[in-house]
C-alpha cells in the first residue's frame, strides 16, 4: 500500500497546517515523521486516515484518492495522539467493540493482541484504572489487532517505560515483516532512526528534509 502526497496543502481556518507536501510512503516500509510540536506530523496522519481532507492536492493510496474515491482507507490501524477508550469497559471489551464494526477478527485474535502489548494480566481491568502506559499499550493493540495494511502510530512510545519501548520496537518490526506500511511520528530521534527506513522532517507544515538509510538529502 504505497501512500502518495501530491502537492498537498491543508488549511484549517486561516492556518496552513500542511504546505505543498510531496512525498511517497513506500509499501512495506517504515516511514518516520520528525518535527517539533505543531509542525504538522499528526495532520499528515489525519490526512492519510481520511479524518481531514486536503484543501489542495491529493493523498493517494494505491491509486485511490482519499476523500474522493473513498472516505477512509480500506485497511487501516491507527493510534493518533493520546488513545481514548471507554472508561467503564475493560481492555478486551474496548477492543471488541471496535473489532465488531469490521467483523474480521475473533475474540482469540483480540486476546492475542492484548498479549502482544503485554496487557494480558490487565485485560479484565477497567480502562479507567489503567495507567498512562497501559492506555498507550491498548492504543497500540487497537492499531495492530486487525493486521491492517496501513498502520499509523503517533508518538507510540509516549508514557512507556523502557520495556514498553522495546515492545513497540518489536511490534513495529513484526508488522513490517508481515508487509504492513507503517508511518510513525516520534519525538525521540534515536528510536525513530532505529525503526524507520526513511525519515521526513517537517517544519511548519513543510517537508524540509529526508534521511534515507543513512544518506541525508534536502527536498
Amino acid at each position: 500500500m504505497a501512500i502518495e502526497f501530491k502537492n498537498v496543502t491543508k488549511k484549517i481556518k486561516k492556518n496552513t497546517v500542511i504546505n505543498n507536501a510531496n512525498l511517497t510512503i513506500e509499501t512495506g516500509k517504515i516511514t518516520g515523521l520528525q518535527g517539533i510540536n505543531g509542525s504538522g506530523k499528526t495532520m499528515m496522519m489525519r490526512l492519510i486516515a481520511g479524518l481531514i481532507k486536503a484543501t489542495e492536492g491529493e493523498v493517494v493510496i494505491d491509486g485511490i484518492i482519499i476523500g474522493k474515491d473513498i472516505d477512509f482507507p480500506l485497511s487501516l490501524g491507527m493510534m493518533l495522539e493520546n488513545p481514548a477508550f471507554l472508561n467503564s469497559y475493560d481492555g478486551f471489551h474496548n477492543l471488541r467493540l471496535l473489532a465488531d464494526i469490521n467483523g474480521i477478527i475473533s475474540d482469540s485474535d483480540i486476546y492475542e493482541s492484548i498479549n502482544r502489548v503485554g496487557l494480558d494480566e490487565a485485560k479484565n481491568k477497567k480502562y479507567k484504572k489503567y495507567s498512562l502506559g497501559m492506555k498507550q499499550r491498548l492504543g497500540i493493540a487497537a492499531a495492530v489487532m486487525e493486521s491492517p495494511d496501513i498502520i499509523l502510530l503517533d508518538e507510540p512510545t509516549n508514557s512507556l517505560d523502557s520495556e514498553g519501548v522495546e515492545m513497540v520496537k518489536r511490534i513495529v518490526s513484526e508488522e513490517k515483516a508481515r508487509g504492513a506500511t507503517i508511518v510513525i511520528s516520534c519525538h525521540d530521534t534515536a528510536i525513530l532512526s532505529e525503526l524507520s527506513d526513511i525519515i521526513y522532517t517537517i517544519e511548519s507544515g513543510k517537508i524540509t528534509g529526508c534521511i534515507k538509510n543513512g544518506s541525508d538529502s534536502e527536498q
Binding site: 473513498i70 477512509f72 465488531d100
Partner: protein
C-alpha cells in the same frame, strides 16, 4: 452492512449504555404524574383521563400578551420535559467525534454511514425518552383507574395554571396528534437541528439554540417558532389564532430532513480533529 453495524453500535452505546439518562427522564415523568395527582386532590377531583394527564404535561401556555401587571406564567413542566431530552442528546454525537469515536469513524467506511447512523440514533433516542414517559403515564393512569381516552375533562381549566381558563373545554377538538405526535415530532426536529449545529459549535452552544427556540416560542405565538406546535394550548383547535398541527408536521418534517441532508453534505468535508 457496515451501516447496520454502526446503527447497532449507536443504539448500544448511545442508548443502552446511557440508561441512566432515560431513568432520570422516567423519574421526572413520575414526579410530574405525582404533581398532577396532588393538583387533582387540591381541587377535590377524583376522575381524570389519559388525555388530561398528557394535557397537563404538554399544554404549554396560551398566547402571552405582555401586560405590566401580569407576568408570564412559565410552563416549567413543558420546558423541562422538552429541554431535558435535548440536553441528554446534545453530547453523544460530538463526543463520538473524538477519542474512541475516531477509530469508529475510520471503520465506518463512509462518512455518510456515520452521519446517517447518528441521525437514526437521535430519532430513536428522542422516541425512547417519550415512549418511556408515555409508559409511565399509562402506568400512572392504570394505577389510578383513569379513563383511557384522549378526551379532556372540564376540570383541566382549573388544573392548568397557564392560561387554559381562557378557552372552554367543550369547544376543544384535540386528540392524539396534539397530545402525542406533536411534542415528539417537534422535539425530534429541534434535537436534529441541535445535532447539526453542533458540527459548527460546541455542544453546549448548540443546546442554547434549542433553549432559544423553546423560550421564544413560549413568549411569542408564531407559525415560525417551532415550539408553538408542541404546546396544546397554542393549537388552532383550541385558540382561534393558534397554530395548525398540519403546518407543524410539515415544518418539523422539513426541518428534520434539512438537518439530515445539510449535515450529510457538510460532514463530507468536515475536519475530524481532537476537541480536547
Amino acid at each position: 452492512m457496515k451501516y447496520i453495524k454502526l446503527v447497532k453500535f449507536d443504539l448500544k452505546y448511545g442508548i443502552l449504555k446511557r440508561w441512566y439518562t432515560y431513568l432520570l427522564y422516567a423519574l421526572l415523568t413520575l414526579f410530574a404524574c405525582m404533581d398532577f395527582s396532588f393538583r387533582l386532590k387540591s381541587f377535590d377531583i377524583t376522575n381524570f383521563s389519559l388525555g388530561d394527564c398528557l394535557f397537563y404535561f404538554y399544554s404549554g401556555i396560551s398566547e402571552y400578551i405582555p401586560k405590566p401587571d401580569e407576568p408570564i406564567q412559565i410552563p416549567y413542566l413543558w420546558l423541562l420535559l422538552n429541554l431535558l431530552v435535548c440536553y441528554f442528546n446534545v453530547h453523544y454525537m460530538s463526543d463520538d467525534l473524538s477519542g474512541l469515536g475516531q477509530y469508529v469513524i475510520c471503520r465506518s467506511g463512509k462518512r455518510r454511514n456515520w452521519w446517517l447512523s447518528k441521525c437514526l440514533w437521535n430519532f430513536s433516542s428522542v422516541l425512547t425518552y417519550f415512549l418511556l414517559s408515555i409508559l409511565i403515564v399509562l402506568s400512572f393512569c392504570t394505577f389510578n383507574n383513569a379513563e383511557f381516552s384522549f378526551e379532556i375533562s372540564e376540570n383541566m381549566n382549573l388544573i392548568c395554571p397557564t392560561g387554559a381558563q381562557q378557552y372552554p373545554v367543550s369547544q376543544w377538538n384535540i386528540g392524539s396528534i396534539q397530545l402525542l405526535l406533536m411534542p415528539i415530532l417537534v422535539c425530534t426536529a429541534i434535537s436534529m437541528l441541535q445535532m447539526f449545529v453542533s458540527l459548527f459549535v460546541r455542544p453546549l452552544v448548540s443546546y442554547v439554540v434549542s433553549i432559544v427556540i423553546y423560550f421564544s416560542s413560549m413568549y411569542k405565538l408564531s407559525d415560525l417558532l417551532l415550539g408553538n406546535y408542541a404546546m396544546i394550548l397554542r393549537s388552532d383547535e383550541i385558540a382561534t389564532n393558534g397554530v395548525s398541527a398540519l403546518n407543524g408536521i410539515i415544518f418539523s418534517v422539513c426541518l428534520i430532513f434539512a438537518s439530515v441532508i445539510c449535515g450529510l453534505l457538510y460532514f463530507q468535508h468536515y475536519n475530524i480533529l481532537s476537541r480536547e
